[in-house]
Subunit: 323 residues, 4 copies
């Protein structure tokens, strides 16, 4: 994971959406067992996923499977813990409360990675760095990181840690996929040589890169859920015509290569060596198997194809300016 | 709270006076429940209040109410723990002993804020900073602060912490009200830009700003208690004629605005953005409800009125000298 | 205690000699109760005293007396823990082992002061400073100090602590009495302004300053014990004629002042403001009462008398050289 | 042990090979009892020895023998913990996991020394130094060191520790014997003045220096084991003719001195004052007794003989270049 010694599998598995609600213990165990046997060792959670239920079910399932604690990596994130003012954000109080709550839900002695789920502009970065660093020194957390922080914020956190002999954040968790390349390939560029690792989420852009929304919104899909209208608006609302057209062209290319659009999208991420692990979000073992199948199509993405994709999408961040 | 991420409610509730003595468990629960439901999340204690009894009853009551630990802030203060030489002051020994005793009385795993209740000129400030910092690093305390320290003492504590990579004090608890503005608006001025938060006590000046002492001392009032003669002397003893006359004029102004003098006094404090939380001291739910009512009169204090008040009192600290 | 906030009583009580062997639990309780009631709050021990038995009996007795832990100061010292190579000295291993063993014997959660009983030239001073500092940071020890270290060694320990942000030693425990003034009044002089406190032992020079050896060695005295022949040789062996003659003259002076020689010797130490506490070693309540009586004769030692004593003894260290 | 206060016996005892497999609890107790009674206080283990079984049996045996914990030194090493990617190497995660597992297997509260069993080029040295340092600060480890690291790697670890106020590695565990002198007498030379201690293994070069392979490979010897063919190849494979010839000459010299080749080899190591302890690997009490007998032949190795040995072997590292 970046410049750390933590060895993450190329694919990780996240509990975002449905875990603990429509996915119960039995199904969670099946999915996790399949993942573990396929070599996946990175399991991603957050206090904010389904109000803690997803962590609870992940913890119960891993516990029931009896894996050796040193054979897998389990994470949590702090930010959205509850409705009260002291139950959210990155104050020392909430960072500690959230860590202890996650350890309880996951039934482990330590978190492998503890992420700040978003930046908190109401808390000085130095306070969060001190709190995270203390959790590492106490042995409750092995590594800490950020999610959806800006390059400036990550740089500041690293600077504070260096200045005060505290533990640095070593990993960022951004969205990254064919449709969203700005941060990973642009803004974060100066950070990789400083050791930043990436665990990326939404590899299929909330399902858009499965191609299933090319002909409308299926009734059983995530974007059909009433509580995800905000996400539907982002992806399928007005002004998304060009995006849909690009997806169609990628879909055609995948077809010519005898692979699914999903596989094209997943393998494309793996070609980026700055990515430590790609977090998959699945609802069942079938989806997971399908996603894992992408690894078989690995060699199909050669340099020429990558250039073609860049030209179709036109979203590759430009090189940094040299004045 | 100052430049921290701790989100305090505008009003806090203190256990000073009567808690654990005339206020028993049942009444404590009623008062706390009312406060909590009204959005108050900051509960202030000290080892020196009623010899620890007030903390005991506060802890029993919060425990009985079953609040989630991450939804409220509970504090203690160290200084007056007992009669023996090692049971008082800010030595490392007493700071640790007092912290452990407060955790036991309050039945919590950590204190949100631990205050030095007064400066201790017999203990080097560096020793106290080291002890407080160690408690924070151990996870027993989230933030530490001071109460009735001078600006010089706070500055020294912060300097020691910075020099040795220790945890800085982030909050001071001074008395602050219409009649006592010297420290908060004067002496502490250079500290706010360094992140100092304030939790202020005695917003009604021991009841003087309720107006209840304008016509003598009621038999059931605090200043009538034989053990508070020292406080009676301070407020109502010789040389207080001008003060009483000023209170009368403020009372008239409040009447013209159709609000009580208490509400005027409370809302006036809230206009000072350097104040993180105003600690209320109440004997029953009725007093608490009355105090909370002040928030409804908020908009009545406009810039013109504030100037009038300044002129009546003549106690606004002057601007710092520029040479 | 020096430049710390720890408030020690002028007299302390040590468990050296006889505690746990000829002094059993019942007698220990009697002596400790008398001391505590007289205001003594400092109780001194070491792993090396009677092979740990003295700490055991002190711990049992204090436990049985039920004192509040914050009302007294209890210490231990590390150096002579056992016969094996790893059971002695000031290695990190033995410092930790000895601390844990002392906590067990004394039945307390922390030691107020943990002393290095002697310098250990086979262990780098930095290793001992790091180990002691870690014990303080872990909350197992409040303060640490040294016993019979040289000024150079103490200075080096303080320098290492300052350089590495570790906890400094704050107290030294030397022998100090009318007959032995070299270290306290000479060698240590530059250290007092750096905050060094002193807890001194052997105020009566192994009994010589009671005058009981002026006419030979009583059968029931310490110097008559077969295992203390080395101490007898030091005090009463050849070349001690001048010392004995000086003791006689001091005895005469005490007689003229209507006080015992012991009282003169004890009060004389208290006139040195660099001494934080004078450790008494007693065999029974009678001896303790006699020693405590010294405080009544306090005012008899005026400046003139101190000068006379200096002249008789001729052992006052000279002023530091100014070149 | 180097510039530490840890007092190691000249010989140590390792659990490498056979402990927990062919050596069971009863035999382990016999061997350990004999060693302890002979003054050996250093017992060396690793998570990688027989998959943890050797530590298990060592822990059970020591526990059954009831030795006082402060009278002996027990170690472990981290690197080869399991087959999964997160179960090996020197990441913070695996360092912590391996420490906790070793404490469990050995049934102790702390490890005296915790070694990095090999360098891990996939983990930044700074991450390992921070993790080891945190374990020391937490009291779970007394000292940490390395095994088979290069001088450059050790130097870097020490530099990181000094720069960040962390705990330095104090000991290296290399192979060292008459046939392998490069690292100990050459590469590591600049490190001794910086305090590096050495605990060396393989004093008899996997048995070669017992002379037992001079006439072929005995059926019950280690090099006859099918899982040690790699070691057989190293020592007895092609290109080892000169080595075998040298061993014969040393064997002759030993014979002339009326001592065994083994004793010559062991005593020769003890003449190197940079070596803190020589780890013996034995299968039974008889082998241990034979090895311990070497101490009786100590005075036979005089300066003249050492020179003769150097000339025979021709493997003494040259002096460092002065330009």
């Amino acid at each position: 994971m970046g410049q750390t010694g933590l060895q993450l599998s190329e694919f990780g598995l996240g509990s975002w959406v449905n875990w603990g609600t429509s996915i119960g213990l039995a199904e969670a165990k099946e999915i996790l067992a399949l993942a573990y046997d396929a070599g996946i060792n990175f399991f991603d959670n957050a206090e904010g996923y389904e109000g803690g239920l997803s962590e609870q079910i992940m913890g119960d399932a891993i516990n029931a499977l009896g894996w050796s604690r040193d054979s897998y990596v389990v994470t949590s994130k702090v930010f959205w813990g509850g409705d009260k003012p002291t139950q959210r954000g990155l104050s020392r109080k909430h960072v500690f409360d959230a860590c202890h709550a996650a350890l309880n839900r996951l039934k482990v002695d330590y978190l492998d990675v503890f992420y700040c789920h978003r930046p908190d502009i109401d808390t000085p970065i130095s306070e969060t760095v001190e709190a995270m660093s203390d959790l590492v020194r106490q042995g409750k957390v092995m590594y800490w990181g950020t999610s959806e922080w800006s390059a400036q914020q990550i740089t500041q956190a690293k600077a504070v840690a260096k200045q005060r002999n505290l533990v640095e954040p070593m990993v960022e968790q951004p969205e990254y996929n064919l449709l969203n390349r700005t941060k990973v390939e642009g803004e974060f560029r100066p950070l990789y040589s400083q050791g930043l690792g990436l665990t990326t989420y939404s590899p299929l852009a909330s399902g858009l890169l499965t191609g299933k929304y090319l002909d409308g919104v299926p009734a059983d899909s995530r974007l059909a859920r009433s509580d995800y209208q905000w996400l539907r608006e982002i992806h399928l609302g007005e002004g998304n015509n060009a995006k849909q057209s690009n997806i169609k062209r990628l879909n055609d290319i995948a077809g010519e290569l005898n692979m699914s659009l999903s596989h094209l999208a997943l393998v494309w991420i793996l070609t980026n060596k700055c990515v430590s692990s790609v977090i998959l979000g699945v609802n069942n073992t079938k989806q997971l198997s399908q996603n894992l199948g992408a690894l078989d199509s690995r060699e199909k993405l050669d340099a020429e194809l990558l250039t073609t994709i860049d030209e179709i999408l036109g979203n590759k961040p430009s090189e940094p300016e040299r004045f």
